[in-house]
């Protein structure tokens, strides 16, 4: 029995990840955070493609060497527009992606507001990643997102955002949803940063209603 036994499947856990950030980052207005997610979920970015409207959340697996993380990715559904995000949005979120537009300094301010809101409302152990998007609009960016002096559309120096992220204990990345640059890395890093102890089974919690309702 001990010889040639099939290896046990990797432990798999669901992680609720919430999206927050400046509404116009990405592509379609108000659907911005989705673009990064679409790239991650779909590995496909088309300029004029409508993002999915109406799914409560999207799911995507992320395979790490020791475990598989299944992200349940929630967007705000526009409820942030009039400050009407419900507490249930933050509830049990183990990870958050706060997106800003590296060409617009105001979007970083907004992102900082969302980070503060997460620190106030979300579970204490939540993993927050600050992500500056639209790296493709920035000319001659270094491979690790370090800017190179020159005329380009960059409005937020990477160093400034990074030092803010370090202060607050956030993961930090610059990405391009358009080219896909570093998008997968963001999710892999989030998956890796979630403490083992925080992970529950695939469907955490007791959900009696799912057992049998005809």
């Amino acid at each position: 029995m001990s010889d040639g036994a099939t290896p046990l499947p990797k432990p798999s856990s669901s992680v609720k990840l919430v999206l927050l950030g400046e509404a116009a980052v990405g592509k379609a207005p108000n659907m911005t955070q989705s673009s990064l997610v679409m790239r991650f979920v779909n590995n496909d970015f088309q300029d004029n493609k409508e993002p999915t409207i109406g799914a409560a959340f999207l799911t995507q697996k992320c395979t790490l060497p020791t475990r598989t993380i299944k992200f349940e990715i929630w967007d705000t559904a526009g409820q942030e527009r009039f400050a009407s995000l419900a507490p249930m949005y933050y509830r049990n979120a183990q990870a958050a992606l706060v997106v800003y537009d590296i060409t617009k300094p105001a979007s970083l301010i907004k992102a900082q507001h969302w980070v503060a809101e997460l620190q106030r409302q979300a579970s204490p152990g939540i993993v927050i990643a600050l992500v500056g998007n639209k790296l493709d609009l920035v000319a001659s960016a270094g491979s690790d997102g370090e800017e190179v002096e020159g005329e380009d559309a960059r409005g937020v120096p990477a160093a400034q955002a990074r030092s803010y992220a370090e202060e607050e204990g956030l993961l930090f990345f610059e990405t391009s949803a358009k080219t896909g640059e570093r998008v997968a890395e963001v999710f892999t890093a989030i998956a890796g940063a979630i403490p083992e102890t925080q992970l529950k089974g695939p469907r955490g919690g007791q959900r009696v209603e799912e057992r049998r309702v005809e």
Partner: protein, 519 residues
């Protein structure tokens, strides 16, 4: 922030209480332009959930305005100096429910949550035992010479197996009588000839004369009705379906429980999930903005929201509390209003003994019902002519930190004193090593007009229809008639849509990721 001024909508939903939120869910895939507002800066209206800090603001607002609630008062006893006893935690550690109702497993609500696909965002917990407080032992054949027993909590057996095998402090002869009633109620529709003559008489008459149940055991069955009314006003025709609902719900979704409660503060979580579905479907959500005035010019009605935004809409739907300016009659002016005394208490103990797992393999209960029948609180200085109900929620509900629990009290009429004495009695009767105490409590009154529980409608000019949901009842149980009134409003609004589909039945959204696999 964006402006709503001069926008046009198909439906304006006022208030994020349960019926409005379910309507938003029902309309979420209708393609209608829905604007959903709430005058409060939180979701849920009368079904909201409050942190202890939010409760302070709620008390001030409740006492300052006219609403369904009044006479709110907080009391925070000076902390017990004794070492190691739990203390009140930080405000956001608490999610106190204004509507901690339980949902029977046969309720249509659960089917709709399933068919509308929102159940995945909700967690439900099992209600556990029903307890009844008895100032003396219930046994008919108490051994002679035994000392008078102090007040005790008796677990109500709700299945025949439970009656037969469990040690609930009921003697054998009484057990047989209880079994007989259980058998009868499970099949009461087919035995109309037995109960019809007692239809409009108190249930007790039926129990005594037909089912030969000793009167000391009547309270076991009255407790299962969860009615706040006096026993003499609890008629057979009202009580039988409610007891049957309890018995038939037992085991339907799993062993050992008949009802569930949503995690994180009762019905509030449902309103938030339903509103999110509305938003995902394209509805626009605005908190902290209610209907200020309605003005009609020629054929068109315009609605002023808050102080600045004038909008136009074909339909306005809300509860009376949110539609004030539209209907011109605030709820609390209703003469026929009845009052329920309510309380919410944070307790310094998990009250573990109230949450036993009574069936092998059943989920750990997170809630319990404790009933103080009429007269059981006799020693107190207040006369008790209405039953007192306490809903006890464990920390598994997410409503309080581990090691504490929440007691929600309900009693008809001006009964704050009775609620207090019931809670004090419970805390003594649970027999914890050190008597648990109250860390924080909130008392208030809930008004509920007794008239219509139908949705009503009113025309404003040609262009705008105002539809009103009935005000919320103070029932301890989710009332399925809410589903009917939401459905009737949904039907009217979508009347001309050929492809409106079935009420609250939605297909899967095309998920981009992998298929959602059920565990």
């Amino acid at each position: 922030m964006e402006s709503l001024h001069n926008t046009e909508w198909d439906v304006l939903i006022a208030g994020t209480g349960l019926p409005q939120s379910l309507l938003a869910l029902a309309l979420s895939r209708s393609g209608k332009r829905v604007l959903h507002v709430d005058k409060n800066d939180y979701y849920g209206g009368p079904q909201a959930v409050l942190s202890t800090q939010e409760a302070e603001a709620w008390v001030m607002n409740t006492n300052a305005g006219t609403s369904l609630f009044s006479d709110a008062a907080l009391s925070i006893p000076t902390p017990n100096p004794s070492h190691g006893s739990p203390k009140l935690s930080f405000p956001r550690a608490y999610s106190l429910a204004l509507a901690p109702q339980l949902i029977y497993t046969q309720s249509g609500l659960l089917s709709y949550l399933l068919s509308s696909k929102v159940y995945r965002q909700l967690e439900f917990l099992a209600m556990g035992s029903w307890w009844i407080y008895s100032p003396q032992a219930l046994n008919l054949e108490a051994p002679s010479g035994s000392p008078p027993s102090p007040g005790q909590l008796i677990r109500i057996p709700a299945t025949r197996e439970d009656v037969a095998f469990s040690d609930t402090g009921i003697d054998l002869r009484s057990k047989r009588a209880v079994m007989k009633v259980l058998r009868f109620v499970m099949d009461y529709e087919n035995q109309a000839e037995v109960w019809q003559p007692y239809s409009s008489k108190p249930l007790s008459d039926l129990l005594t004369h037909c089912l030969k149940l000793p009167s000391s055991l009547h309270s076991l069955f009255l407790a299962l009705t969860l009615t706040l009314d006096k026993p003499q006003r609890t008629t057979t025709s009202y009580a039988l379906p409610r007891i049957a609902r309890h018995l038939r719900s037992m085991g339907r979704l799993g062993a050992g429980f008949s009802a569930v409660i949503p995690k994180w503060g009762g019905m509030s979580e449902l309103t938030q999930v339903a509103c999110r579905a509305g938003a995902v479907g394209g509805g626009v959500y605005v908190l902290g903005k209610g209907i200020t005035t309605l003005s009609t010019e020629a054929e068109s009605t315009s609605v002023l929201l808050g102080n600045h935004d004038t909008i136009r809409t074909k339909w306005i739907v809300g509860a009376p509390d949110d539609l004030g300016p539209c209907t011109g009659c605030p709820v609390s002016s209703s003469v026929a209003a009845e009052i329920t005394s309510r309380s919410i208490a944070i307790v310094s103990s998990s009250l573990e003994s109230l949450f036993p797992t009574t069936f092998e393999g059943s989920p750990k209960p997170a809630g319990a019902v404790v009933v103080f029948p009429v007269g059981s609180l006799g020693q107190s200085q207040h006369l008790q002519d209405n039953p007192v109900y306490l809903l006890v929620h464990s920390s598994d509900t997410g409503e309080c930190p581990v090691g504490q629990s929440i007691i929600y009290g309900f009693c008809c009429g001006e009964s704050q004193g009775l609620l207090e004495s019931a809670i004090a009695t419970l805390l003594t009767a649970v027999n914890e090593p050190s008597t648990p105490h109250i860390l924080w409590s909130l008392q208030f009154k809930q008004h509920h007009p007794t008239d219509s529980n139908q949705a009503t409608s009113q025309n404003f000019a040609e262009a705008t229809q105002v539809l009103s949901f009935p005000p919320p009842s103070s029932d301890l149980v989710f009332d399925d008639s809410i589903l009917d009134s939401v459905k009737s409003v949904w039907e009217r609004i979508t009347e001309s849509d050929a492809d409106r589909g079935d009420f609250l039945v939605f297909g899967e959204r095309g998920a981009l990721g992998e298929e959602y696999d059920e565990a």
